[in-house]
C-alpha cells in the first residue's frame, strides 16, 4: 500500500471532522452496495458483494459429516477466509494468512453465537440429519478479490447473501439400523431445503478516526484509524458479537455510544441488504 502524505492525512481527518469525507459521503453513509447471488456453479450457495472498491465472494458448500460427540444433536459450520493476492500484493505467499484468520475468527464469533448456540445466525440443529450419526457440515468460504477497506462488513453481507442463496438437498435416512452402524442415506436431487436467514446478523464496523467514528471506511481512512469496533446485530436489535481492533484504548462510555450508533445504522442496512439480496435472487432465477 502506498504511503499517505501528511497533507492527505490532514485532509482525510479534517473531512471526517466536518462530516464530509473525501469521497463526498457523510460519516454514517455507506458506499453503493452491489449484491449478486449464485456466482459459483459448484457451490450449494454463493454470493458476490461489492462495496465501493471492496469486492468479496462467499460460497457455502454442504458435505455429509458426523456430529461431534459433544454435540450429537447439531451440525457443524466452519468459516474460512482467504485473502487473494489480487487484492493486495502483500497477501502473496503466506502474507495474507494473518488477516485471513483474524477475519475468519471475527466472522465465526458473529455468526455462530455463544457455546450453547444462543444468538447463532445459523440454526445448527437444522443441519442435523440423524442424531449422533449424520449431519451436514457447512463450509463457508470467503474470498477477498479486491480490498478497499471494510472487509469484515462486506464478508458478513456476502455470507448472509450466500446463505440465503443456499439450497441443501433433502436427505432421507433409511429406517432402523443397529446402534453402531452408519445409516444409509439417500440424497435427493429434486427436493431442496432453503435456509431461514432472517436471524443472520449484519455486521457494522465503526472506525474511529480522531474523535469521530465512521461506517464503511475506505483503506485510506482505515490507515488513519486509532481503533475500530465491529458489531453484529440481528433483526431484533440484539448484539450477537463484537470485536475490537486497533490497540488504542477507548473510554467505556464511548464503546456504549458506538453500540447504540451501530444498532441504529444496522436497521437501515439490514433492510437495504434484504431487498438487495431478494432482488439478486430474483435476477438469478430469471437468467
Amino acid at each position: 500500500m502506498v504511503g499517505i502524505s501528511l497533507g492527505e492525512q490532514h485532509f482525510i481527518k479534517g473531512g471526517i471532522a466536518q462530516d464530509l469525507r473525501t469521497d463526498g459521503r457523510k460519516r454514517l453513509t455507506y458506499r453503493p452496495i452491489y449484491v449478486e447471488t449464485g456466482v459459483i456453479a459448484h457451490a450449494n450457495g454463493s454470493a458476490r458483494v461489492k462495496i465501493g472498491g471492496t469486492d468479496v465472494i462467499a460460497s457455502v458448500k454442504a458435505e455429509i459429516g458426523r456430529p461431534s460427540s459433544l454435540q450429537p444433536d447439531k451440525g457443524k459450520v466452519a468459516v474460512f477466509i482467504d485473502c487473494s493476492p489480487t487484492a493486495e500484493p502483500t497477501f502473496g505467499g503466506r502474507g495474507g494468512e494473518e488477516l485471513s484468520s483474524e477475519l475468519a475468527l471475527a466472522l465465526q464469533r458473529c455468526l455462530l453465537g455463544g457455546k450453547s448456540g444462543a444468538g447463532a445466525g445459523i440454526n445448527l440443529s437444522s443441519l442435523l440429519i440423524k442424531e449422533g450419526k449424520v449431519c451436514w457440515d457447512l463450509y463457508i468460504d470467503g474470498l477477498v478479490i479486491s480490498s478497499d477497506g471494510n472487509l469484515l462488513d462486506a464478508l458478513g453481507a456476502a455470507i448472509k447473501a450466500a446463505l440465503t442463496n443456499t439450497a441443501i438437498p433433502k436427505v432421507n435416512v433409511s429406517a432402523e439400523m443397529a446402534d453402531d452402524e452408519q445409516p444409509e442415506i439417500d440424497i435427493s436431487d429434486e427436493e431442496y431445503l432453503q435456509f431461514d436467514t432472517s436471524s443472520v446478523p449484519v455486521i457494522v464496523t465503526l472506525t474511529k478516526v480522531g474523535t469521530h467514528y465512521i461506517v464503511d471506511a475506505t483503506a485510506e481512512e482505515e490507515s488513519q484509524m486509532s481503533s475500530a469496533v465491529s458489531i453484529s446485530v440481528n433483526r431484533v436489535g440484539h448484539i450477537c458479537g463484537l470485536t475490537k481492533r486497533g490497540g488504542s484504548g477507548l473510554d467505556p462510555s464511548v464503546i456504549l455510544d458506538m453500540i447504540s450508533v451501530a444498532k441504529h445504522v444496522t436497521e437501515t442496512l439490514m433492510n437495504k441488504l434484504d431487498s438487495d439480496i431478494s432482488a439478486a435472487e430474483a435476477r438469478e432465477e430469471e437468467s
Binding site: 494473518e98 484468520s101 483474524e102 475468527l105 464469533r109 455462530l112 453465537g113 455463544g114 457455546k115 450453547s116 444462543a118 444468538g119 469496533v229 440481528n234 440484539h238 448484539i239 450477537c240 458479537g241 463484537l242 470485536t243 475490537k244 481492533r245 486497533g246 490497540g247 488504542s248 484504548g249 477507548l250 473510554d251 467505556p252 464503546i255 456504549l256 453500540i259 447504540s260 444498532k263
Partner: protein
C-alpha cells in the same frame, strides 16, 4: 510425537457411563450456586507471582482457581534476520497448552487464536518506541485450563512485561463474564463456559480507565452489556490493585 513407543495404537480415556451432562443451570432454579460455590459476581481467588522463570527477562505465574499459566518475556532482543528496519519495536506473542491442560482435549498445541488475541490486547499498552529495531517476545504456557484462560493469560502477561521492565502506559487487566440464561457470572470456570449463552471478555487499563480489547459472542441486549461492562470494570480495577501489590512486593523483596 515420534518418540512415543506404541503411538500407533489408538487409545481412549475411560468416560463416565450413562451420565448425560446435566444442564448446570436452569432458568427457574434461582437458588442455584456455581460449581465452585462462588456468588455470581465473585471472582476466583487469584495468586500472582513474578519471577517464575529465572532465564527470562521477566516472568509471572498466575493461578485463578484451577487455571494456571506461566508467561515469560524475553528481550528486547534482536529481531529475526528477515525483518526489515523498523523505528518502533515489535511484539511477538505465542500461547501454547500442555498436553494435560484440560481433561477433554488430549493434545498440547500452539493456540494461534489466543496468540493473536494476546498480541492485540498488549500492543496498545506497550510503548513500542522505547525499543526500536528489536523484538519483545511474550511466550505463555497454560499449565492447566480451568476457564477464563485468555483473560488470565492477558493479566499475567502484563505482569510479566512489568517484571521485565518493558515500558507500558499502564497495567493491563482482563476479566471475562459469562451469560447463562438471565444471569451474568464473572470469571467463569470451564463447565460454565461450556454451556454459556454468551461470553464477554474485556481488557482494560485500570488507571487510565480505558478499554483496550473487547470481544462479545452470543446474543446480548444493551442493558446486559451495560451490566457486564460495569462488572468487568469493577473487577478490573480490583485486579489491577492486586497486580500492583504483587509488583511492589517483588521489588521490595529484591531490594533487601
Amino acid at each position: 510425537m515420534a518418540a512415543k513407543p506404541g503411538a500407533a495404537t489408538p487409545t481412549y480415556s475411560p468416560k463416565l457411563v450413562g451420565r448425560s451432562r446435566l444442564p448446570i443451570f436452569k432458568d427457574s432454579d434461582l437458588d442455584w450456586t456455581r460449581p465452585d460455590g462462588r456468588g455470581f459476581h465473585q471472582c476466583r481467588p487469584a495468586l500472582l507471582q513474578t519471577g517464575a522463570v529465572s532465564s527470562a527477562s521477566g516472568s509471572a505465574y498466575a493461578e485463578f482457581g484451577n487455571t494456571k499459566v506461566i508467561v515469560s518475556v524475553f528481550g528486547p532482543r534482536e529481531s529475526k534476520k528477515a525483518m526489515t528496519y523498523s523505528d518502533v519495536g515489535r511484539l511477538n506473542c505465542n500461547v501454547s497448552y500442555t498436553t494435560f491442560a484440560s481433561s477433554t482435549l488430549g493434545q498440547g498445541t500452539d493456540h494461534k487464536e489466543y496468540s493473536s488475541m494476546l498480541h492485540q490486547a498488549l500492543e496498545g499498552v506497550i510503548i513500542m518506541e522505547t525499543f526500536p529495531k528489536t523484538t519483545v517476545d511474550v511466550f505463555a504456557l497454560v499449565l492447566e485450563s480451568g476457564g477464563s484462560d485468555l483473560s488470565v493469560l492477558i493479566s499475567c502477561a502484563s505482569l510479566a512485561l512489568a517484571d521485565a521492565g518493558i515500558m507500558m502506559y499502564d497495567l493491563i487487566t482482563a476479566v471475562s463474564v459469562s451469560c447463562i440464561g438471565k444471569s451474568l457470572m464473572i470469571d467463569p470456570v470451564t463447565e460454565e463456559e461450556g454451556c454459556e449463552d454468551g461470553s464477554f471478555m474485556m481488557t482494560c487499563m485500570p488507571s487510565r480507565y480505558e478499554i483496550t480489547q473487547l470481544t462479545i459472542t452470543g446474543e446480548w441486549t444493551t442493558p446486559n452489556i451495560n451490566e457486564a461492562m460495569q462488572l468487568c470494570l469493577d473487577a478490573c480495577s480490583k485486579l489491577g490493585e492486586i497486580m500492583r501489590d504483587c509488583l511492589k512486593q517483588s521489588t521490595s523483596a529484591s531490594d533487601e
